[in-house]
Point group: C2
C-alpha cells in the first residue's frame, strides 16, 4: 500500500512526519503556500509554507489558550481584534465569552480564510457569525491606520519568517498599545521555549518596556515544535496572575480550566531565566 507522508522541518535539525491519507488542497497564494492535508493521527491539518498551523485533533489547545487567558483576565472584554488567525479557530473561542460584542479579524491572506471555510468548517464556522467582521489586510498597516480602540488584541500569527516577520517587532507592539483601551490587553503567540529562546527573550523585553504588566505562559501543543508553546501578554491594568476568575461564568473547553489559568504562568526554571 502506498505510504504518504507530510514532513515539517521544525528546526534545521529536527523534523516531524505525519502519515497522511490524502492532500485535500494545495495552492500558492500571493503570500504563501497553503495546504490542507488529511492526516491519520490528527485529522485534517492546515499547513502554511510547510509549517503546521492547526489540526482538527489538537487545535483546541492553541485556540483556547490564546483566547481564554486574556479574555478571562479582562473584566469585560467587548471589542476584540485578531491579527492573523484566518482559520477562525481563535474567533470560535472568543465567541464563547458572553461579554463579547464584536470581533474583527485582520488577515493578510484572503485565501487562508476561504480555504479554511471550505475545508475546515469544524474550526472556521465562527467566521460566519454576525458579530465577526473580516478585513483582508496587512495587520501592520491596519494597526497604524485605524481610529478605533479594542479591549483585547490577539496576534495569532505564523512563525516570524515570511509574512509574519513584522508582527514580532517593538514598533508593532508599540502601535498596538496605542490602539488598546486604558484597560486593554495584548496577547501574542511567541513560539517554543526549547527552540526559540532568543525570540522569547526579545519579545518579552519589548512587551515589558511598553506595558506595565508583562507575563509569559505555556501550553502543550503536540503538533508544534517541541510540543511546548509560549504566549506573551502585555496588559495595561489587569494582571492575569492576580485576577480572581473563580466566580466568573464558565465556558466549555478541553484544555483551559480556571486552575490552568493560574498554573500556566508557573514557568520551569529554564524558561524563567529567559525573562530576567
Amino acid at each position: 500500500m502506498i505510504e504518504l507522508n507530510f514532513t515539517e522541518k521544525q528546526t534545521k535539525n529536527v523534523s516531524f512526519t505525519c502519515k497522511i491519507k490524502r492532500t485535500l488542497h494545495t495552492e500558492k497564494s500571493s503570500f504563501q503556500e497553503i495546504a490542507v492535508l488529511e492526516t491519520i493521527e490528527f485529522g485534517k491539518m492546515l499547513v502554511l509554507d510547510g509549517t503546521v498551523q492547526t489540526t482538527i485533533e489538537d487545535e483546541f489547545v492553541y485556540h483556547e489558550m490564546i483566547t481564554h487567558v486574556p479574555l478571562y483576565t479582562h473584566a469585560e472584554p467587548k471589542r476584540i481584534l485578531v491579527i492573523g488567525g484566518g482559520d477562525g479557530g481563535t474567533i470560535k473561542e472568543i465567541l464563547k465569552h458572553p461579554t463579547v460584542e464584536s470581533v474583527e479579524l485582520v488577515e493578510i491572506d484572503e485565501r487562508v480564510v476561504q480555504v479554511s471555510k471550505k475545508y475546515l468548517p469544524e474550526i472556521s464556522y465562527a467566521l460566519n457569525d454576525p458579530r465577526v467582521k473580516i478585513n483582508i489586510r496587512d495587520g501592520i498597516e491596519h494597526i497604524k491606520n485605524i481610529n478605533t480602540k479594542y479591549d483585547i488584541i490577539i496576534i495569532d500569527s505564523t512563525d516570524p519568517i515570511g509574512p509574519a516577520e513584522g508582527l514580532f517587532t517593538y514598533d508593532f507592539y508599540s502601535n498596538i498599545n496605542k490602539k488598546l483601551t486604558d484597560t486593554g490587553i495584548l496577547i501574542a503567540q511567541t513560539e517554543s521555549p526549547f527552540f526559540n529562546k532568543e525570540l522569547i527573550k526579545n519579545v518579552f523585553k519589548n512587551i515589558s518596556s511598553i506595558f506595565p504588566i508583562a507575563k509569559l505562559y505555556l501550553a502543550n501543543i503536540p503538533t508544534y515544535p517541541s510540543g511546548l508553546w509560549s504566549f506573551t501578554i502585555g496588559s495595561k491594568k489587569y494582571d492575569p496572575t492576580v485576577v480572581n476568575i473563580s466566580a466568573k461564568y464558565d465556558i466549555n473547553s478541553k484544555y483551559y480550566t480556571k486552575k490552568i489559568h493560574n498554573s500556566c504562568f508557573v514557568l520551569p526554571e529554564f524558561v524563567k531565566e529567559l525573562l530576567i
Copy 2:
C-alpha cells in the same frame, strides 16, 4: 555533504527525525537494541529499541520531574529504589536530596549501564557514587523477592512494549506497595496524555485502587512523543498536592521549582477526564 538522520516512529502514524553527526555506539544486547547517537539539536542521545530514552539537552526535564516531585513530597526520603533507569539520570537527581542515605538501581540490562557509563558520563556519573548499589536484575522478580522496604520506589521504565511491559501492571504496583514503608511513595513514568490515553486511565485506576492517594502530573519533554509526558504517584501518607515544601531545602534544577511542584498537578480538562 552527507545527511544522516535518526527517525523514531512515535506512533503508528507520527515520527520524529533528528539529524545526527554520527553513531557513537550500536549493539544488540540480550534484551534490546542499544544505540548512542550524536544529534545536532539535542547532543548525545540514548536510544533503546528505536525509542529515544534521554538526550544531553533535555534529560533534565524527565530526570528532575520523576525525582524531585516524590522526594520533596516525602518528609524524609532515605532509602530509594529505582527500577530501570540504567542511564543513571534519575540517580543523579536523587542524590541532590540531603536526606538520601542509599539508592538501589535495579536494571534488567547490564549493557545499558555500561554503555551509559562509557558514552554518557554527563548523565551517568552518579552511578559511581558510594551511596548507589546497582543490581542487574529483572525488576519484577526483585520486587517479589526482596525483604527490605523503601521510602520511595521509582519506576523509570521504557515504554510498555518489550522488557518493560510487566512494569505497567496491577500486580507489579501491588507488589511494590508491599515493599514500601508506611509512608512510602511509588512514582512511575506513564507516557503521553495525547497518545497513550488508555494506558494512563488503566494505570491510574490500578494505582488508585492500591494506594490511598493517587495523583498524576505532567512535564514537557521535547524528545518524547507529543512533548507532553505524565507521571503517576501512589502514596500511602503524603499528598504531593498538599504538602508544604516552601520551607524545605533548595536544590539546583533547570525545570523543577517549588512552584512547578504544585502547578504540574493542575491538569488540562482532557487529561482530568482520563482520571474520572
